[in-house]
Each structure stands twice: as C-alpha cells, then as structure tokens.
Symmetry: C2
Subunit: 136 residues, 2 copies
C-alpha cells in the first residue's frame, strides 16, 4: 500500500509533510524522536507541525509512541496488526542507555503479575535496557 493510501485509509488527509514523516518512520529500524524527524526531513517543517503530525499518526494508529531512557517521546510506525484503538500493548522494547535509541522487539508472552486491589491493567510491556549494537 502506498504512503498516500495508508494515510487516507487511516482517515488522514495527504500532505507533503505527513508523507515524508511516514516514509521516514517506515524506513527506520528504530523509534524516532521529534528532533530526529526534524533533522532527517527533506525540507524544513515547523516544530509544532511535526509534533502535531506525530500525534495525528498516533491517534490514527499509524504509529505508536514510546518513551526513551530520558523520557522523551519517540515514534515508530505500527505493524499491520495495530489499529487505532489497540496499538499500545503489543510490543517489547529495548532502550539504549547510551544513544537513547528505542527498538521494537518481537512479541513475548508476559508473566502474570498481582496488582493491588482496585487496579486495572490495560497494557503490559517488557522493557529491556542496555546498549545497542552501535553503542557497544
């Protein structure tokens, strides 16, 4: 499916910036921060616009947000199994403490955990930390 089709099929209008950002995310092997995107974009885009584009992708289910070791948001394009309502809880992540990179890993079966009385769990993820191959 082309970039334009993907955007439209998720209810988003097609614009140059959205096309460029989606392309970037899909080519990347890791989650990209707002700053990464700004740097890598073929043509300058307003900072605020990028925040909004990334947010629209998350709302539409085209990308999902994940925090890096510093607490900054990064975005990765969703695999096809994601949809707009349940695309937060299928990933395991690896966070590099050196470069702050975030990588999506395979799905894993997660252990059961007892949560305190009255708590409701909507998502659970396994989060790994360490050094990625570039920072080893």
């Amino acid at each position: 499916m082309s970039l334009d089709e993907q955007l439209r099929s998720h209810g988003l209008r097609v614009t140059g910036i959205r096309r460029d950002v989606l392309d970037l995310l899909q080519r990347s092997d890791r989650a990209l921060s707002h700053a990464d995107v700004e740097r890598a974009l073929p043509e300058r885009a307003d900072r605020v616009t990028l925040f909004r584009v990334l947010q629209s992708f998350e709302d539409a289910g085209l990308a999902h947000r994940v925090l890096d070791v510093q607490g900054t948001s990064r975005y990765a394009s969703c695999s096809t199994e994601c949809d707009a309502h349940a695309h937060h809880d299928v990933h395991a992540h690896f966070r590099c403490t050196a470069c702050s990179g975030v990588f999506c890993l395979e799905r894993v079966a997660l252990p059961e955990v007892n949560v305190p009385k009255g708590f409701t769990v909507t998502a659970s993820r396994l989060e790994l930390e360490g050094r990625c191959s570039s920072c080893a």
Copy 2:
C-alpha cells in the same frame, strides 16, 4: 534505622532537606515527582536543590528513578536489597494513565527475549499500565 543513619550509611551528609525528602519517599506508597516533593515538603526548598537531592539519593542507592507515563522522573525509596550499583533492575512497575502515578510491584520472573545481534541487556522490567485504585 533512623533517617540520619540511613543518609550517613550511604555516604550522604545529613541536612534538613535530605531528611525531609527521604522521610517523604519512605512514607509514600508511590513514586514521587520533583513537583510532588516540592509541594509536600514542610518548608520551601529551592527547585534546583530538590533536583540535586533526588539525584544524590539515586546515586547513593537510597532511591531509584522511574519515568511516569508522561516521561517525567519520579523517585521511590529503595528496598533494602538495593545498593548503589544495582538498584535499577529489580522492580516491576505500574503506571496509572490517569494520574500519572507510578507504583512499584513485586519481583517477577521475566521471560527470555531474543535481542538483535550485538545488543547487550543490562536490565529488564515489566511495565504495566492502567488505572490505579484512586482513579478507577
């Protein structure tokens, strides 16, 4: 062990602010943000000082840092099994998406995960998300 003894035994000088902050952390059932601490403190303390106090606690192994759903740092006092060098990788966490609260949970046995070639894992945690009892 008294607050003062705990501070001293971790190589920290005893000051009023440190005592107050450590007391707060140990009484709390959840991880506290810098802003939480600032608000709850018996007497006004400089913002920067609080950041440094919390950081010193983390460095000394008296508390550990954990990010909430918004990516803001929160601190929780360490259990006795923590020490200055390896107190990052023993917890499972629950993050409330409503109030951004973070709660430390019991230890769990984590599943093995295949990481890409060249990656080194130094810590792994199970992270749960949902609503805490106060926000249900």
